[in-house]
């Protein structure tokens, strides 16, 4: 048994800001759109929206780059964004409809360098037909059960996942309970 050595725990400089990380990604993957999504809460933690097509390569880059080394994907989850009416901005005549999509959110940390979190997000095309996203389980195994949970509760299909089955609900359950429009059966004994 040994003890924690503070010298080896946090050796590196502070984490690059999400803006700097965005530029590094843009330099390493020319043509891959990366968008910075601001966070309105006082927590900070803005996130990077990745294009699904290149997401797995970018994730590998984030894991292996010597200054970033996000070797640990901590929290992996989904968010449902149905179509909503946005309040019109000044100068706009009518309320705008925001497009509906499902989102997968990954919180990355670096155990080697002791920094984080970096939040990355992937968005599906819509909530019905285009719900496939690339799985990041080949990059971080900690996504394995959590992506299965998103598949189960939100209905995002993760392409390249080694074992994409329902995690919490039973196998022939219909529907995705964490979606905002999910309506449970009226009969509590019914097994959908």
């Amino acid at each position: 048994m040994t003890w924690w050595d503070p010298a080896s725990a946090n050796p590196g400089p502070p984490m690059p800001t999400p803006e700097q990380i965005k530029e590094r990604i843009a330099a390493a993957f020319p043509g891959a759109p990366v968008e910075l999504v601001p966070n309105g809460s006082p927590a900070g933690q803005p996130s990077l929206l990745l294009e699904p097509g290149r997401a797995r390569d970018i994730a590998r880059f984030l894991r292996d780059d010597p200054e970033l080394r996000f070797d640990y994907a901590s929290n992996v989850t989904g968010v449902d964004w149905p179509e909503r009416l946005e309040k019109p901005k000044p100068g706009e005549p009518a309320a705008r409809k925001t497009p509906a999509f499902l989102e997968a959110v990954y919180h990355l940390y670096s155990m080697a360098l002791g920094h984080g979190p970096l939040v990355i997000r992937l968005r599906t095309g819509d909530r019905a037909a285009h719900v496939t996203l690339p799985s990041l389980t080949p990059v971080w195994r900690s996504c394995e059960f959590q992506e299965r949970e998103i598949f189960d509760l939100f209905g995002i299909i993760f392409d390249g996942h080694p074992d994409l089955r329902r995690l919490l609900m039973w196998d022939n359950f219909a529907g995705h309970p964490m979606r905002k429009d999910y309506a449970p059966a009226r009969d509590p004994e019914a097994e959908p």
Binding site: W4, A43, N75, Q146
Partner: protein
């Protein structure tokens, strides 16, 4: 409806004819699974060749319930996640809400949080050591010794919050109420008695020949796999990885306390047991300092609005080092009185990712102690 069984793996080459693989459903009602959890194990003789965990028996969609409730009303539900450590569950949740809404916490409340958090670590690790030894065949005695100490801590929690296990004590912006008179003295007595209990426990067990033979070299978890699979908590540190969120994030007041973090060398079941014993000794140090230094003052931020809290639209992820690993809460607010998205990052579920890797090639009796050494609670795995 039961899931179809996974496909049998190919037989090992040179298998004698008539030699069959056997599939065993270990659980959901099995004392060693510490709840309703099933492992479909495929055995070659007594050796595990495949293991598939099956979840969901305790699923009640905790997250959906919380999304229909106000921010305050979710706190009692978090008690039921990891029902052994309700105080740390409260802490992780209120920490996330405080990040989301930028709430301040008075100093006395931060001290109380550290005290109840470390007491929770003591009772969790003591119980785990007892359960683990019970799984190894030391029936009764270690578990009852551990439960005797746990009872003293639960008495403290009861006089503080009114409930032994479902404490529902922390609030965003502080704690629900101040300490009752004489509580600190009583707590100091419990802490002073815990060290001798650990000495006694260790004298009986840590050098025990049978314990060592049974646990050393079993269920080895390599550090690079542990990091990649997101294992956190004592299981990660037993593999020798320097990662403790109390040190990395320094949330609460952990910066002020002098304590060390034990690391294992082999990453086997014995190291996971030993790391927890040493962590308890370090928790006692933190408790001594906190009970000595706690200041007087208010325990609630007067500006915190418990009812009808409406954080600005945005999101926040807060995490703490719970006794089982990284417990995080991801909250998305749309400006309304209830969270748009509420997510628990459960350490128990993610730590189970490597269960199969640790069990392959070991006998079925070892599966029981490997699972025991991961330390899961099904209320948190299934949510």
């Amino acid at each position: 409806m039961i899931a179809p069984p996974p496909e049998l793996p190919p037989r090992p080459a040179g298998d004698p004819p008539g030699h069959d693989l056997l599939e065993v459903a270990l659980g959901p009602h099995h004392p060693s699974t510490h709840g309703v959890f099933r492992m479909n194990v495929i055995l070659d003789g007594e050796t595990v060749v495949k293991l598939t965990p099956v979840f969901g028996y305790l699923h009640r969609n905790h997250e959906k319930i919380a999304e229909h409730n106000s921010y305050l009303a979710a706190i009692p539900y978090t008690d039921r996640l990891d029902y052994i450590c309700s105080m740390t569950n409260n802490w992780a949740y209120v920490l996330s809400v405080e990040k989301l809404a930028a709430l301040a916490v008075p100093e006395r409340a931060e001290y109380i949080r550290v005290i109840v958090g470390e007491l929770t670590r003591l009772l969790n690790h003591a119980c785990l050591a007892g359960f683990l030894l019970q799984d190894m065949g030391a029936l009764g005695t270690p578990l009852m010794y551990a439960f005797r100490e746990r009872e003293k801590i639960l008495d403290l929690f009861e006089s503080l919050s009114g409930s032994r296990m479902m404490c529902n004590y922390l609030r965003f912006g502080g704690c629900r109420c101040d300490l009752p008179p004489g509580w600190l003295k009583q707590a100091a007595g419990v802490v002073a008695g815990f060290g001798p209990f650990l000495d006694h426990f260790e004298a009986l067990l840590s050098e025990n020949e049978i314990l060592r033979a049974r646990s050393q070299g079993v269920g080895v978890l390599p550090p690079d796999l542990a990091v990649n699979a997101g294992v956190t908590g004592p299981g990660l540190r037993a593999s020798g990885v320097n990662y403790d969120i109390r040190k990395v994030d320094q949330y609460g007041l952990y910066k002020r306390f002098n304590f060390r973090v034990p690391l294992g060398g082999q990453g086997d079941v014995f190291d996971r047991y030993m790391v927890r014993i040493l962590e308890m000794r370090e928790s006692l140090k933190i408790l001594d300092q906190a009970l000595r230094d706690i200041p007087n003052g208010p325990v609630m931020d007067p500006k915190a609005r418990l009812r009808n809290l409406r954080p600005k639209p945005g999101e926040a992820y807060g995490r703490i080092e719970s006794p089982k690993g990284e417990l995080g809460f991801y909250l998305v607010s749309d400006g309304g009185p209830n969270p748009w998205r509420y997510r628990v990052r459960p350490p128990s579920l993610v730590n189970l990712t490597v269960l199969e890797d640790m069990c392959l090639g070991h006998s079925i009796a070892d599966v029981v102690i490997i699972l025991g050494s991961i330390d899961i609670v099904l209320g948190e795995v299934d949510r």
